[in-house]
Amino acid sequence: MKYSAFNLFREGLAGHKGWPQAWRDPEPKSHYDIVVIGGGGHGLTTAYYLASLHGVNKVAVLERSWIGGGNTGRNTTIVRSNYRQPELHALMELSLKRWEGMSDEINYNVMFSQRGALFLGHSDSDMLQLAQKGDAMRADGIDAELMTRDQVAKLIPLLDVSPTARYPVQGGLIQRRGGTARHDAVAWGYARAADRLGVDIIQQCEVMGIDMVGGRATGVRTTRGVIGADKIAICVAGHSGRVAAMAGLRLPVESHLLQAFVSEPVKPMIDTVIMTQSLHCYISQSDKGEIVLGGDPDAYPTYSQRGAPHIIEKAAAEALALVPSLSRLRMLRSWAGTTDMSFDGSPIIDRTPVDGLYLNGGWCYGGFKATPGSGFLYAHLLATGESHPVAAPFRLDRFETGHTIDEPGVGPMPQNR
């Protein structure tokens, strides 16, 4: 049933008894055209675009626990395309344009709120970098606006912009089309939309092995039986390396973790996403009223989904210095997600050296904003066998060939990431 004001009204009169299940819970079939491993946002959008744009609907999405239970439900929900490198402009802007039409396209309210994504500058060098980034964005047709300190102070009155502040604010760069979205709704909405097009979403189904015949991947062994596939699409974020290892591959990825935490809900106080050029601190307020905070990644390999408190302390200290009134809030909960860190900070959307096996991973800690673009490009690769021009630079072998997409500007040196 379509979600609409009319149906809501009708169901309201009928006691909300007629709403159908949002997506089926099918038994896995013995064979699919394409099996997508991983039921996060990226995997579900991939399946949705395979069915909606490419007419491939013998597709299964395999999820070892519940859909959206990994990084899709663990991020700070920020959506933006304010990057520096042209390759990332193309990728993130393609995504942002899809975010703008998403709720209508999939008939599911993902609560995408373009409240503006602001990077603060704290020094002359910060402002220079922000100005360069803004110019690069505008040259590629992306909105960016350099702001003075007074403009920033007017936009966010609670920000400490005094000259004696711990992190004095000189100005900022805002992308007004950036914002936040309801992350769980993205998984649920795409699951429902893909299911309506015939995609099987199979939860509680962990992939334990990849079957190979003559160097070609032919299927997956799962906790719910063997499933054959013409093409197998890895889309498992932090576990990319583990799944690829089932086919004997080593990836240019280390699995680290990123934490986030939220306060108790309060009345609206911050209606912009606040980030900074020098610090690693993300501040926004959810529609529920919680202040959502994120910080540095815990920089060591781990699959624990459990971070160290000194990282939270650092992010909290930075947030309090920027917005002193946050000091009165109590923190409600914190959590962590396993992130697949590539060596240049950019993702990988490519075929692998194993025939029939494809990889979408290495999103580091920035995958949520790219959800619809990632699925769109991955579906294109899977359906046509060719990389979409926007995805073409995000090759698996770019580290050894020296074609890195080096947003942080550290060079192709894994140990400097």
């Binding site: 390396g241 240019p252 060591y300 390999p301 160290a308 050894e400």
Partner: protein, 85 residues
Amino acid sequence: MMLIPCPYCGPRAQSEFTFDRPVEAITRPDGSAPELIRNLFTRDNPKGPSRELWRHTYGCRSWITLTRDTVTHEISDVTPVGASQ
């Protein structure tokens, strides 16, 4: 938070240490090119025990090698770098 047993300072808080790289990613100048590329740019990325190079950066600044479980964070072995030489 992990308590990391520095061979020189005893057990110290994780916040004093920095992770550098897995031991498999240490490259030697005498390695072949394919071997160097493999070690620099790909990872085994194990889920379980892992041999890693860490540094007591905000302490005695010595380099140490840990065997650490990437799921439980249990540290089963600590060796000072260069100890065997």
